[in-house]
């Protein structure tokens, strides 16, 4: 069975060009870049090249830092925990603002800091699924040290007004971190146009390999390392650099930026085609206005069709998608986004996310449209409520 991958917000296929770029660093140029000898020396130009690609990719200034690490979870923990040791612990600034939409690595590190006396505000999305700059402004007090708001949401694809939020933070003298994992490769991310202090990303979300990521730190902003014990990354992150991963991430970033226009036109066209077809089914709700979303994502709620059951049927037909339905999780957290936008409670377990990539084809979308309508028909026949 031909399989179709529509779960690109979870992870992506590695672009073959990225794989080719990293290949030489396994068996040929395998030196440790910190070594003095030729094995180390020959690797370093490629790391400089990767840095160029990454700096260009997010338009970072030469005096800013992009620390190469293992993933966005590491980057996010470095920022949140680093802030505790740097500022929150010893000053009267004991307040962090974040949102209920964040990835668990932000939420849980904030929860952890709460056990150490830090106050955390978790902003709820409004009825459009958004966090507004005004909501952030309203939550800032003279004790606020840090705001952490994601650039784009993983579930709905909604792009948050991070530029306006950055302006509010600047104005109030509060540091701003953004988790840009779902933004890079889908929309333009420019740290000079949007003055964030910290920004985190993971290569595997934009057709790079898993296990490598980056943490952008604006020039002049101090942040202690999470991993101590080495001179790598200027002492900001100890541990031998993942050379193949870093080279691959540089290449993936370059390709991602080259394809931004393609994302906006072709990926968006296919996503819209899929979305239009879904909306033709009765009693279907799509979260968020499409022009406010990343071009690859659609989050759909289909009345009478439980999320996991639909994912099951799609998987039987070789289609990979994902659900926010919490049936199998140990805590009963129905999708917070469906609750936030005021959808009725009956829809809480119906959310399904389809996320495309630049590798998604028209035939795949056509087959998906056909398969979803078939699955919805079957599951609604079974369903008590339809």
């Amino acid at each position: 069975m031909e399989r179709i991958y529509l779960d690109n917000n979870a992870t992506t296929i590695v672009d073959p060009a990225v794989r080719d770029a990293m290949e030489p660093f396994f068996c040929h140029m395998y030196g440790n870049p910190n070594s003095l000898h030729s094995f180390g020396i020959e690797v370093r130009p490629y790391l400089h090249q990767a840095m160029e690609q990454l700096y260009t990719g997010i338009n970072a200034a030469d005096d800013d830092d992009i620390v190469i690490n293992s993933c966005a979870t590491e980057g996010n923990n470095t920022v949140i925990l680093g802030f505790y040791f740097n500022l929150l612990k010893d000053t009267r600034k004991k307040h962090i603002i974040t949102t209920q939409l964040e990835h668990p690595c932000i939420r849980e590190s904030c929860r952890y800091l709460e056990t150490h006396g830090v106050k955390v505000t978790y902003l709820a999305p409004d009825r459009d699924g958004m966090i507004t700059a005004e909501a952030v402004r309203g939550a800032i007090t003279d004790q606020t040290a840090l705001v952490s708001v994601m650039w784009a949401n993983n579930e709905t694809g909604l792009i948050l007004p991070i530029k306006e939020i950055a302006e509010v933070c600047r104005e109030r003298g509060v540091y701003l971190h953004t988790d840009a994992v779902q933004a890079i490769g889908k929309i333009k991310v420019d740290v000079q146009e949007v003055p964030v202090d910290f920004l985190t990303f993971s290569a595997h979300k934009f057709h790079g390999p898993k296990g490598v990521g980056g943490l952008y730190i604006r020039n002049g902003v101090s942040l202690p390392p999470l991993l101590h014990g080495g001179e790598q990354m200027g002492g900001r992150r100890a541990g031998t650099v993942d050379v193949p991963g870093m080279v691959a991430m540089g290449k993936a970033m370059e390709l991602a930026n080259q394809h931004l226009a393609f994302e906006q036109t072709e990926v968006r066209r296919l996503r819209d085609k899929l979305e239009d077809a879904l909306l033709k089914i009765d009693d279907v709700l799509v979260v968020g206005r499409r022009e406010l979303r990343t071009p690859n994502t659609v989050y759909v709620s289909i009345r009478g069709v439980e999320g996991e059951a639909l994912i099951w049927d799609l998987n039987q037909n070789g289609i990979a998608a994902s659900t926010g339905s919490a049936c199998a999780s140990e805590s009963l957290e129905a999708s917070p986004i469906l609750t936030a936008i005021g959808a009725d409670k009956e829809l809480a377990h119906t959310g399904v996310r389809l996320s495309l990539s630049r590798f998604t084809t028209e035939q795949e979308i056509d087959f998906t449209i056909y398969t979803i309508s078939k699955a919805v028909m079957r599951l609604r026949q079974l369903s008590t409520s339809y």
Binding site: V305, H349, L382
Partner: protein, 321 residues
């Protein structure tokens, strides 16, 4: 934790073939009507259970022969995940040919067992066990409708863990008989809490009436009281001073000194004198780092006094020397 727990994420690959097959091709889904009932010469029963906002609902249809109480036909509709659909389908099948009373005895454990491929291999992963509970509850609902009785009259003894159908009595007995001290031990002995984990403590997948942490604390307290009859509260004031000293020293040794020692402190009993209204004044002197610590006057004294009152006698009042 261990080798098999570190990767995680497994869910569907733990379904039995029977579960997958019944999810893909349920045999008994559909609606039964009064016309169907008339044709079969039986009575139509329709029972609903669950709520979509909680993630699954099921509607069970029976046609029952009023002479024999035998269920001639059973179908269902379901909003839920694959496990819920497969379990409901199997449950409907198991009802057919049984009398209503026999059907009412079917539990979610029977349904899960019937869905196994291998006798000793669970049909669904632990976190999916609760998805079959609905299939059990809806039979109870249908039975109560058929009999015209309140569903409460069919309720079993207090069930603590719905997934494994473990009663409150079973949990309490297991704690007492085996002297269990942790929730993990309760789970090992009874299977309660091994599946969706909702019954371990508040905040799980669904709200429960009883939680294992609370039952454990209550039964442990009962056991401790029974074990130390010397410390039966009302008798304390009647004990000789020597026995009072022994009881207090024992409580200090067991419950208080270890806690203080962790912070490098200690405590000594200096004297016991009668107080007002039948109270007993226990004079205590702090040792080590507790001595001169501001916290020891307030926080630690509260802790010591509370512990002594709980363990020895509620007549005790602490006095720092």
């Amino acid at each position: 934790m261990g080798k098999s727990d570190l990767i995680g994420g497994e869910l569907w690959e733990q379904y039995s073939n029977k579960v997958a097959d019944r999810m893909n091709n349920p045999r008994h889904f559909g609606v039964l009507t009064e016309d169907d009932a008339k044709q079969l010469g039986g009575r139509l029963v329709i029972a609903d259970e669950g709520a979509e906002s909680c993630g699954d609902t099921v509607r069970l249809f029976w046609i029952v022969d009023p002479e024999t109480d035998i269920i001639k036909k059973a179908t269902f509709k379901s909003f839920g995940c694959g496990t819920a659909i497969a379990a409901t389908d199997m449950m409907a099948e198991m009802c057919i040919g049984k009398t209503v009373d026999e059907a009412a005895k079917i539990t979610n454990l029977d349904v899960e067992h019937a869905l196994r491929d291998e006798e000793d291999q669970a049909a669904v992963p632990p976190q999916k066990m609760h998805c079959s509970v609905m299939a059990y509850e809806v039979i109870k609902r249908a039975t109560s409708i058929y009999r015209g009785v309140d569903i409460a009259t069919l309720a079993e003894a207090d069930i603590v863990c719905e997934c494994a159908r473990v009663t409150l009595q079973t949990v309490e007995d297991a704690i007492r008989i085996n002297d269990l001290k942790t929730v993990e031990e309760i789970t090992d002995y009874t299977k309660a809490g091994a599946f969706c984990k909702s019954c371990i403590q508040p905040g799980g997948h669904e709200k429960r009436e009883h939680y294992l942490v609370d039952i454990l604390a209550r039964v442990r307290a009962e056991i401790e009281r029974e074990r130390n009859p010397d410390q039966v509260q009302s008798d304390f004031t009647k004990l000789s001073v020597v026995k009072q000293i022994k009881a207090i020293e024992a409580a200090l040794d067991e419950h208080i000194r270890p806690a203080l020692a962790r912070d490098g402190g200690g405590i000594e009993l200096e004297d016991i004198t009668p107080g007002e209204d039948g109270t007993v004044l226990v004079h205590l002197a702090y040792q080590g780092s507790c001595k001169g610590c501001a916290g020891s006057l307030a926080g630690t004294l509260t802790f010591v006094e509370r512990t002594l009152r709980q363990e020895v006698s509620d007549k005790i009042r602490g006095v720092v020397v």
